[in-house]
């Protein structure tokens, strides 16, 4: 059978997908064991046992200085920043993207401005954000918002503008005005695309969050990674990176599932 025709079943696909992860883990352990055989005090590739030990301290023991469980405090702080940032980004994308996509005069007025904003690297704006918002939470949230919103708006506005012209005309012949077209034709069809844009923005959002936390923060996943880097503490950095990956995958999965659940018509396939 030709390879293009081989579609693995559900169980087989799961097994095949897990295979590279298992290979990666095993090769890490082999490499780590080899390094530890040469130098038992090696810090670059810690063994799983050392990682568990180091993480147990952060997970289950309150920090003597602040009295907080650092791992959970970091996770909570980062997720809060990410959540607020993405929430603001999503809400403004929906409002601006819809108006921009559905109303040609607005698109003509604000489109070039949006393009200009979108091409500025958000990290280059970070100093401005720190100056304007101070070093607190606002600047970090603002970086996420500034970083992902222009892309999301362009994506959603483009999608709305590309809806078949026939649909708008049909709605007008059914007695709609511009508001009605936006509310009943554009908005519902923008929603699945908005979730898709949000999923694609999760990666950049994490980048901006970690960058902002690395530069100025006193709690957060990114802050902790960059703090312990000074001590070559790979036994903390690696589990933290894995934890960030798990969080990102869970978010992506939840968004994908809710899109299927809420907007089944957009996933019906066929067309």
């Amino acid at each position: 059978m030709r390879w293009v025709n081989r579609t693995p079943g559900r169980g087989a696909a799961l097994l095949l997908g897990a295979l590279p992860l298992v290979v990666l883990a095993i090769s890490y352990i082999i490499a780590a064991a080899a390094r530890h055989a040469a130098n038992p005090a090696d810090k670059i590739l810690p063994l799983p046992g050392a990682m568990a030990e180091a993480m147990a301290l952060l997970l289950f023991q309150a920090d003597p200085l602040s009295g907080e469980y650092l791992f959970w405090a970091d996770t909570l702080a980062s997720l809060w920043r990410l959540g607020v940032g993405l929430g603001i980004a999503t809400t403004s994308t929906l409002l601006v993207g819809l108006v921009l996509g559905a109303l040609p005069p607005v698109r003509a007025t604000l489109g070039p401005l949006l393009t200009a904003i979108a091409v500025v690297p958000p990290i280059a704006l970070l100093p401005i954000l720190f100056i304007v918002f101070g070093l607190g939470e606002a600047a970090k949230i603002a970086l996420i918002v500034v970083g992902v919103t222009p892309f999301m708006i362009r994506d959603v506005a483009g999608h709305v503008a590309a809806l078949p012209r026939e649909q708008v005309i049909k709605a007008l012949t059914l007695g709609a005005n511009s508001w009605g077209v936006m509310l009943r034709v554009s908005l519902p069809q923008a929603m699945p695309r908005l979730i898709q844009a949000l999923r694609l923005s999760l990666g950049p959002a994490w980048v901006f969050l970690i960058s902002a936390e690395a530069i100025a923060a006193d709690v957060g996943l990114g802050y902790r990674i960059f703090l312990v880097r000074r001590y070559l503490a790979m036994d903390v950095i690696l589990p933290y990176v894995a934890w960030i990956a798990v969080l990102a995958v869970v978010m992506d999965f939840v968004l994908a599932q809710s899109s299927r659940r809420l907007f089944g018509w957009a996933h019906a396939g066929g067309h």
Binding site: L172, T173, G175, G264
Partner: protein, 259 residues
């Protein structure tokens, strides 16, 4: 009822339609045929209000038509006529919701129940009564066009415009759709203008067949002359067959917004 006077449509220096003058009477079924690029769809778009004619006037019952689509003219396109995010009943209800509720564009409570009843009756007449909760993506092309017709008719439009509505359907389904549209046209006393590629369809359905083509041709500048009506055939025998019936276009329900 619908009257076009000396209508010209030009795109830049390309003349698409020239000197179109037509009077379309109430209750007629006008088929428009002609070669590709003869401006059939342009004519339909101008009547629909999607495009503005370069010169000339269009009047409906004596009043000039605004150059914007409105509920007095319903339309069924070849594709993209129904909304993919709404179920069959949702698609049909939409026309009632837009006019009855300008702000929320939705109906609630007893108003909604009345509208649902009306929509179901309309779906019954196009043969979609059992599919009310399906989404368009779950339906065949023929069912989608049935839905598009129901969706347009619930507004009681003065004119129904069809832009190659059956062009994408396979022959068996197309024959069913011909039966359906003829039946709806007779029962509701519709005025229909249909653009088609299919000459047989044009003659079997229409009471009047218009052929658009270029009357003059300049070989050095083929775009300088537009198409006009070269044949205008009234199929009188069929026109006489139309029974005098209560017309759906007499808008007793005020679905169309104006009284």
């Amino acid at each position: 009822m619908l009257s076009l006077k000396n209508l010209w449509v030009e795109y830049g220096d390309k003349v698409v339609l020239e000197r179109i003058s037509l009077d379309i009477t109430e209750g007629s079924f006008v088929s428009i045929i002609g070669p590709s690029g003869a401006g059939k769809s342009s004519l339909l778009r101008v009547i629909l209000g999607q495009e503005r004619p370069t010169r000339g006037s269009i009047t409906l019952d004596g009043t000039p038509l605004p150059a914007e689509c409105g509920p007095d003219r319903g339309v069924v396109f070849q594709r993209y006529s129904v909304f993919p995010h709404l179920t069959v009943i949702g698609n049909t209800l939409l026309g009632l919701e837009f006019s009855a509720s300008p702000f929320a564009a939705r109906l609630f409570g007893s108003q909604r129940r009345a509208a649902v009843g009306e929509a179901e009756a309309m779906l019954e007449s196009v043969g979609l009564a059992d599919s009310r909760h399906l989404y368009p993506a779950q339906m065949s092309g023929g069912m989608q066009q049935r839905l598009a017709i129901a969706q347009a008719l619930i507004k009681r439009p003065r004119i129904l415009l069809l832009d190659e509505p059956f062009g994408a359907l396979d022959p068996g389904i197309r024959a069913d759709m011909h039966t359906l549209i003829t039946q709806l046209w007779r029962e509701h006393g519709l005025t229909i203008i249909m653009v088609t590629h299919d000459i047989k369809e044009a003659f079997s359905l229409g009471t009047r067949v218009l052929t658009l083509d270029k009357r003059r041709h300049d070989p050095h500048a083929p775009h300088r002359y537009g198409a006009g009506v070269v044949y205008d055939l009234a199929l009188t025998r069929k026109a006489a067959m139309i029974a005098e019936q209560a017309s759906i276009t007499i808008d007793a329900n005020h679905n169309n917004g104006h009284d």
